[in-house]
């Protein structure tokens, strides 16, 4: 399994060092501390967030994976630089003569600046496509996550606070999305939209899969937020705000929202990981990112048919995808534990 070495290197003091040394570009490795400025500030009385941050700082494995994630993101963002200055090729530039054997089998990883990870079946540089594809995968994941967080929170707040008619209108909508399996709904809509686009958005735009994934996962956040708001709105501090004459919107934003913020925080990494994974499923079934654009999902699914002759085509993007999702999940898990320490406390039975 390609995962084991990465797991071990993640536990060492130099986060992600093993991975970086094998990659061609080496941007300044982000250390765990950089990601949390202010965490070192020692104050006698700590708020819940500071406390959580403190707990998080103690989790070296999680911080190592965060660093790994930051490195992967930076690498993907620097894709054009890598393509222009190191690989001297573009993501769609074909060079069949030098990279394909007479039987049409592409060269494997060379580990030099040209064709670092080998070539694909059209003689394109896999490393370059990997970084460009990663950029697309991460972009889709990020946009989808923003959609989920904004609308999931909004729906949850509205349904939970106003109840009644608003709840009766919005909740069935969430139930409806909820009762479709994400992959089936996503693939159906994705295939359909890839043909014609929607409104001003073209069918092969990256916004299409991002939008679909975002909408599909809204209930995953909306439902728990709604439940929490239903409980919170009956509490004394909300009643006090109401008696003081605060309007519903102000109560929602200044009184209730801060109290569901930790739930939202827990969901951000979770939803990012889910979105990136779902994008790969959609692409595998032909409903995600459309050619000539690539994503990790399309690279993997294109490569799977050549596992025997050119295993690097599927395995390298696969390892990249799994590593990214894994690092988000490990870090997200630690965030959840830090915000809700009950989940990790030691118990005896």
């Amino acid at each position: 399994m390609p995962l084991d070495p990465s797991l071990r290197s993640g536990g060492e003091d130099e986060p992600g060092g093993g991975l970086l040394s094998s990659a061609a570009v080496a941007p300044a490795p982000a250390s765990g501390q950089d990601a949390f400025p202010g965490a070192s500030a020692e104050t006698p009385a700590l708020g819940p967030w500071k406390l959580a941050l403190r707990r998080l700082r103690r989790k070296r494995l999680a911080l190592a994976f965060l660093a790994l994630f930051v490195v992967l993101v930076l690498l993907c963002l620097l894709a054009p630089v890598y393509a222009a200055d190191i690989a001297h090729t573009g993501p769609n530039q074909e060079n069949i003569i030098n990279t394909l054997s007479p039987q049409g089998i592409p060269i494997g990883p060379t580990l030099t600046s040209h064709y670092f990870f080998g070539a694909d079946l059209n003689g394109r540089d896999l490393a370059v496509r990997l970084l460009y594809g990663g950029r697309n995968s991460l972009f889709i994941g990020a946009i989808a996550t923003i959609i989920i967080i904004v609308f999931g929170t909004l729906f949850g707040l509205l349904c939970g606070y106003f109840r009644g008619v608003v709840d009766a209108l919005l909740r069935p909508l969430m139930e409806l999305i909820w009762s479709f399996p994400p992959v089936i709904l996503g693939v159906a809509v994705g295939t359909a939209l890839a043909l014609g686009g929607i409104g001003p958005i073209k069918g092969n735009s990256l916004i299409v899969p991002a939008l679909i994934i975002g909408v599909i996962y809204i209930p995953y956040l909306g439902k728990p937020i709604r439940g929490e708001v239903l409980r919170l709105r009956e509490q004394d501090f909300v009643e006090a705000a109401r008696v003081q004459g605060m309007g519903p919107w102000r109560i929602m934003l200044t009184e209730i929202l801060p109290n569901v913020a930790s739930t939202i925080t827990v969901f951000i990494p979770l939803m990012l990981a889910y979105s990136i994974l779902l994008e790969s499923y959609l692409s595998f079934l032909g409903a995600g990112v459309q050619p000539p654009n690539a994503s990790w999902g399309t690279l993997i699914s294109d490569g799977l048919d050549y596992l025997d002759t050119a295993p690097h085509l599927a395995l390298i993007p696969g390892a990249m995808l799994v590593l990214t999702v894994l690092s988000i999940n490990v870090f997200g898990d630690a965030v959840r534990d830090a915000l809700d320490p009950r989940a990790t406390q030691h118990v005896k039975t």
Binding site: L7, L176, I184, A192, L285, S301, L307, V322, T344
Partner: protein
């Protein structure tokens, strides 16, 4: 109880209606979608397309089309656009393969998740717990299609430990049936085991410090009995609900990725083909079937809930 049943039936009907309208609507609002052209073929002349359009009723207003399609579905006469096959018959024929895939896989992941989640919670913070946590997170981080392909490549192609895809009916040969399905079962279960064992672990830890556990211990019950009969029983409920939903969607075709990779002729494979061809009737029937199972298993989960916890009343 009667009210519970009536309410569930009503909500099931509402959901089925909503799902069918949404699926139908999605394909209607897509400008590039032209079923008549799809049926007539790429090189058909405009007159042929028009003829097909009239024959299938695509020239009628949308609500007439919707009503006609629903009538065809519920009388079992609806055919798909691609191969002129009866969709309801297809689902009926393929359902056995999906059941063979989903039921053992579901049992496998539920039992494994309960065992691993319990071990994790009982050894919380120790090495075993951390090891299982890492495994669980790896499990939820690997796309099922990648895992399935790698298993297939390594265990059925490179080494011939397992058969290279395909499906054998259980009535034909139970041993071959299981032999062909071990890798697919495993592929489906890995993701869910990771997910479920983590949820169960945190539920167990929530419950384990409750007062009633202390009371049970104080009255002298053995630790094992406290854990199994009290803590585990109370912690299983959220799992039961999610299991109902996941199992229902798998029955309705959500196993399409695994069915496609392992070439198992189940409903998911049919739906995947239909989706690729924008063939609306199978997608419509598949979605409605899924919604139906979601409601049924949701109700079953609630019933089980009430059985597990006498405080819960069905309403």
């Amino acid at each position: 109880m009667a009210r519970f049943v009536v309410r569930r039936i009503l909500s099931a009907l509402a959901l089925l209606f909503a799902v069918s309208v949404v699926v139908f609507g999605i394909f209607e609002i897509i400008p590039a979608y032209n079923p008549a052209r799809a049926i007539a073929g790429r090189n058909a002349s405009p007159t042929t397309v028009e003829e097909v359009s009239r024959k299938f009723g695509f020239d009628k207003p949308i609500y007439t089309q919707y009503l006609n399609t629903m009538k065809l579905i519920f009388t079992g006469q609806v055919i798909d656009y691609q191969d002129d096959l009866n969709v309801v018959d297809q689902f009926r024929e393929r359902f056995g393969a999906t059941l063979s895939l989903v039921i053992p896989a579901g049992l496998l992941w539920l039992v494994t998740a309960i065992v691993l989640g319990s071990i994790s919670a009982l050894k919380a913070g120790r090495l075993v717990d951390q090891g299982l946590m890492v495994l669980a997170i790896v499990g939820v981080s690997v796309p099922v299609f990648l895992l399935a392909f790698l298993l297939l490549y390594l265990l059925a192609f490179k080494t011939t430990i397992f058969p290279n895809t395909g499906y054998v009916g259980i009535t034909v040969s139970p041993i071959q049936w299981a032999y062909h399905l071990i890798l697919p079962w495993f592929s489906i279960a890995v993701l869910s085991v990771g997910f479920y064992s983590r949820i169960l672990r945190s539920n167990l830890l929530d419950n384990i410090n409750q007062d009633y556990v202390r009371t049970a211990r104080a009255k002298g019950l053995p630790a094992r009995q406290v854990f199994v009969r009290h803590v585990l029983r109370n912690s299983l409920m959220p799992i039961v609900t999610i299991f109902g939903l996941d199992f229902a969607t798998l029955l309705g075709g959500a196993a399409l990725v695994v069915e496609t990779v392992f070439n198992i002729p189940g409903v998911g494979q049919y739906e995947a083909q239909a989706i690729g061809n924008l063939d609306v009737p199978p997608i419509l029937v598949g979605s409605m079937l899924t919604a139906f199972f979601v409601v049924v298993f949701g109700a079953l989960a609630d019933l089980l809930y009430a059985l597990l916890d006498p405080r819960v009343r069905l309403s």
